[in-house]
Subunit: 202 residues, 2 copies
């Protein structure tokens, strides 16, 4: 069989779908799902609504794909953090990644997974539930990493991994909320450093 078709049949796309999705991600990140209108999105993406619907489906599907891109891009620090050899290293990397991603010198502040659709009307419940599942997935991965740390003897055997994961995610979400309100990167990093001086906290 062939390695890959040279070009797909039919008229080729007149824009870069990846770059368009990146632009859409930035709009969702800054304005939230409900605050981002189709006009906002397509303007930023540089395409017509027709092209958007043909390529991405609809607004909710576009949001879902933007969230995937966010997970593999700005939020990819989580996966790397979980590979740190110690629980302390994991949490240090999580907090550093959270601060770096949510309080940025340019671009949107805050976390898409938090502010994208935290409280919504009925018509946006799909996006809201999607983010709830996204956050829950992050929590579960951290909890499982702490379970392994307990098994490794890295964390004391009496540690409650779920409780500890709740603590870490809560602090990370709190950092994201503060960053969304304009609190600066240095102040948030100092706070995270201070919180890490007591580890494990419970």
């Amino acid at each position: 069989m062939e390695a890959r078709q040279r070009r797909p049949i039919g008229r080729p796309r007149g824009f870069d779908a990846d770059e368009a999705l990146e632009r859409a991600l930035l709009v969702f990140w800054e304005q939230g799902y409900e605050g981002a209108s189709l006009a906002n999105l397509t303007d930023a993406m540089g395409i017509s609504t027709t092209s958007m619907y043909a390529t991405f489906g609809n607004k909710e599907e576009l949001f879902r794909k933007a969230l995937e891109r966010y997970t593999e891009g700005p939020s990819a620090y989580l996966g790397r953090a979980l590979d740190e050899p110690t629980a302390l290293g994991v949490v240090t990397a999580i907090f550093a990644g959270t601060v770096r991603t949510t309080a940025r010198p340019t671009g949107p502040n805050g976390c898409l997974g938090v502010q994208g659709a935290l409280a919504t009307g009925d018509s946006s419940r799909g996006a809201r539930d999607l983010l709830i599942a996204w956050r829950d997935n992050g929590f579960s991965r951290i909890r499982e990493r702490f379970e392994r740390a307990v098994d490794d003897g890295d964390l004391p055997p009496e540690t409650n991994p779920a409780l500890l994961a709740r603590y870490v995610t809560a602090l990370a979400y709190g950092i994201a909320v503060q960053a969304a309100g304009g609190v600066g990167r240095d102040e948030l990093q100092d706070m995270a450093d201070a919180a890490l001086r007591n580890w494990p906290p419970c």
Copy 2:
């Protein structure tokens, strides 16, 4: 002078403005500023849009008044917490109040001051900025309380009150985000208790 006019001039209101505002508060709390449409609000309030505009001004003013009601009602625990004699007592009360208010057996979950308008479109920037100021006010009151605790010798003199206040508010916002996602009251309270076992954390 008289104690009070018996009745104001003109046709009297056909509804209880306080109760209508309470209903509006619940809608904003659950659906956010952008997710709460005028139809949602007036339906819940049991009045017409005309009466709403005559009584409260417009949607943004209604939100402002609902936030005031929230501050003096569900969020009033903050003021009481700051009156606790020790910094540890203050933080314990703040966390307990946050958990109790954001993870409720009935009614909206989460914190209006966080999820009411965290990321919005341009047309809702007023509500967003209002909540940023609301959160900043809470932060400042906690920071000032910690400054006093340092002066009192209740907290070590090398304590950074602003940093500590960032930590407390971050954890509280994190609790609110988790509660908005459906995390239960007991689990959040256990986490807060565990975090308090190390105090001050920095």
